[in-house]
């Protein structure tokens, strides 16, 4: 939709109710490192992901895919540009406000799940609600969500008792339990075999369409791209269709 190097459009937020939701990056630039060894991780990146849309970003290592997730996920402050979540610009937020945006608007799915070792599958979801300061009524019902990702039978198991695919399913449920408006997915199939990878990405696509979340998935895995609504390529910090 809005990739390329068009200059920022100040009126883009007001173009319609539908466009207010989701994720919008405008002219985002990010330089990493200091002194002589600076790298342009993101070079004037524009990206719009509508609610319920599943966008994949592929590209070689070091192309800036993780930086894109970090900026969109309120983990890093870009040098310039705007990052809008639900129409709210988070690019200049303080670290305290960033944490609040992460709790309230963003869901992360990490490589190999990154679950908390001490918690059962069900508690992973309840913990995410606790961190966000939500009661179960504000978010999704954890039991129901586990059921939806096909993990109800593993509700009482801890991460070390789960397979890689199962961990990733719990990780997806954990990211969605707070009803985020943006879901950011980092290499979800890095540790999985082909059949499992396909299942997981199919699940992500299904949940994205089902819950109307704007999903960005960074991946190396070209076999799973069939499930995505759009595929963008990132090279040297630049994004293209």
């Amino acid at each position: 939709m809005t990739t390329g190097s068009t200059s920022t459009r100040p009126d883009s937020r007001r173009t319609g109710a539908a466009e207010r939701g989701g994720l919008l990056l405008e002219g985002v630039t990010l330089t990493l490192g200091d002194g002589d060894a600076t790298v342009t991780a993101l070079d004037d990146v524009d990206l719009r992901v509508a609610p319920g849309e599943f966008v994949a970003i592929v590209g070689p290592s070091g192309a800036g895919k993780s930086s894109l997730l970090a900026v969109a996920g309120a983990l890093t402050t870009p040098d310039s540009g705007r990052v809008l979540l639900d129409g709210v610009d988070i690019a200049r937020a303080s670290s305290r406000e960033k944490a609040r945006h992460r709790r309230e608007r963003i869901g992360f799915v990490f490589q190999s799940g990154n679950l908390i070792p001490a918690l059962t599958s069900l508690d992973q979801l309840r913990f995410a609600l606790d961190v966000a300061g939500m009661r179960a009524a504000d978010g999704h019902d954890p039991h129901e969500l586990l059921e939806r990702v096909g993990m109800a039978h593993r509700a009482g198991h801890r991460p070390h008792q789960l397979s890689g695919g199962e961990r990733q399913r719990v990780g997806i449920a954990r990211a969605l339990v707070t009803r985020p408006s943006v879901l950011l997915v980092d290499e979800p199939t890095a540790a999985l075999d082909r059949a499992r990878s396909d299942d997981i990405v199919a699940l992500l696509a299904h949940e994205t369409h089902e819950s109307g979340v704007a999903t960005v998935m960074v991946t190396h895995d070209h076999d799973v791209l069939g499930h995505c609504d759009r595929v963008l390529t990132m090279v040297d910090g630049r994004l293209s269709e």
Partner: protein, 380 residues
């Protein structure tokens, strides 16, 4: 709260080991506190029980030898008594002797005694729980602890070398000891004879009846005694009762040693807890990054860790104190100087928990430096 409890249970072996160390330290702290209290009792309970505000020793007396070296003139009591802020003043004699007690059964028991020479009519004369009060020239009132030696009221005590015969006429209600030696109160005049080295048949040298170790001072009700002004006027060197404890043989060295050991224990405990939580935080660095990426505030994570520290410290201190008090109760029945007192134990428990929390707090400061960005990528 949510994560703190679940992690405590999940990592119970690790937390248990750390708690075990703290519990063992707590046991040691209790035993040392008991030993400390016991030694204080053994060293200065005889002085503590005296209704005295301060002692006036001979001019220029040093603390460490005050009771053994000082000799004052009994007339100086009059001078002190005349001062406005002094309620009462009376001569006090103090010396250590070896003696043999002959019990009713005829057995000879060697005992060491701290002879406290007091005027039977003065405020220093001790209350008795058994027998009669001071009065007869050869009658002595002994500390309750003398009964443990097998000596009873009515028994005779003969001072070694001098051959002075004394009779046990009364026993105090509680422990009166001085420098680990049981106290025997006796009339000042008898004390002066013994102090002058005169046996029953010897002539008492001139001036002996003018001598005492110190003048015991009691403040007028609600008053503090201006010791400096009094010393200048009377020509003495005064110490408050607490200061005079330092003159009890071995007292300063013993209390300093025990205090040093206890200070080390507190420091070790705080370091153990601090180290544990440092390692615990470093081990969970990636996990903490994930939780921060999920939007948890620094305060949320710190609170969780401090809850864990509080629970572990409270439980292990409680367990250690129960074991320590249990073991200590057995020790109080032995001749070891050991006394469990609630006050010092409560202070010790609070110190152990407080310093442990300080150690944990220093460690969790690291959480601030965990970058949520580390959650991205494949560190696992």
């Amino acid at each position: 709260m949510f994560l703190a409890w679940r992690e405590l249970i999940f990592a119970r072996a690790r937390f248990g080991l750390m708690g075990g160390v703290v519990a063992l330290i707590a046991v040691l702290v209790v035993l040392l506190s008991g030993l400390s209290s016991g030694l204080v009792n053994d060293g200065v309970s005889g002085l503590q029980r005296l209704p005295v505000t301060a002692f006036a020793f001979a001019e220029g007396t040093k603390t460490d030898s005050a009771f053994s070296r000082s000799v004052v003139d009994v007339k100086q009591a009059e001078a002190w008594r005349g001062r406005d802020d002094v309620g009462d003043a009376t001569p006090f004699g103090n010396m250590l002797v070896n003696a043999k007690a002959t019990t009713a059964g005829g057995a000879q028991v060697p005992i060491d005694l701290a002879l406290f020479g007091v005027d039977p009519g003065s405020f220093l004369a001790p209350d008795v729980a058994e027998g009669s009060r001071l009065g007869e020239p050869d009658g002595i009132v002994v500390s309750r602890t003398v009964l443990d030696e097998g000596v009873a009221v009515g028994d005779t005590v003969v001072i070694d070398r001098l051959g002075t015969r004394l009779k046990v006429i009364g026993v105090t209600g509680d422990q009166h000891t001085f420098g680990h030696v049981d106290v025997a109160y006796l009339p000042l005049r008898t004390w002066q004879q013994v102090h002058a080295g005169a046996g029953p048949d010897d002539e008492v040298r001139a001036g002996a009846y003018e001598e005492a170790t110190a003048i015991a001072l009691r403040a007028r009700d609600g008053d503090r005694i201006d010791l400096a002004a009094g010393d200048a006027a009377v020509g003495t060197t005064s110490m408050t009762l607490e200061e005079s404890f330092g003159a009890s043989p071995g007292y300063t060295a013993e209390t300093a040693t025990l205090t040093l050991i206890q200070v080390f224990l507190y420091a070790i405990s705080a370091l153990v807890v601090g180290t544990f939580f440092t390692v615990w935080t470093i081990q969970r660095k990636h996990e903490l990054a994930v939780i921060r990426a999920m939007g948890a505030s620094t305060g949320y994570l710190m609170r969780d860790t401090m809850i864990q520290a509080t629970v572990i410290l409270a439980v292990s201190t409680a367990v250690g104190f129960l074991l320590g008090v249990g073991g200590g109760t057995l020790l109080t029945t032995t001749p070891m100087p050991f006394a469990l007192e609630a006050g010092p134990l409560v202070v010790a428990a609070l110190l152990l928990i407080g310093l442990g929390l300080a150690g944990a707090a220093a460690a969790v400061g690291r959480i601030v430096r965990v970058d949520p960005l580390a959650a991205l990528g494949g560190q696992r």
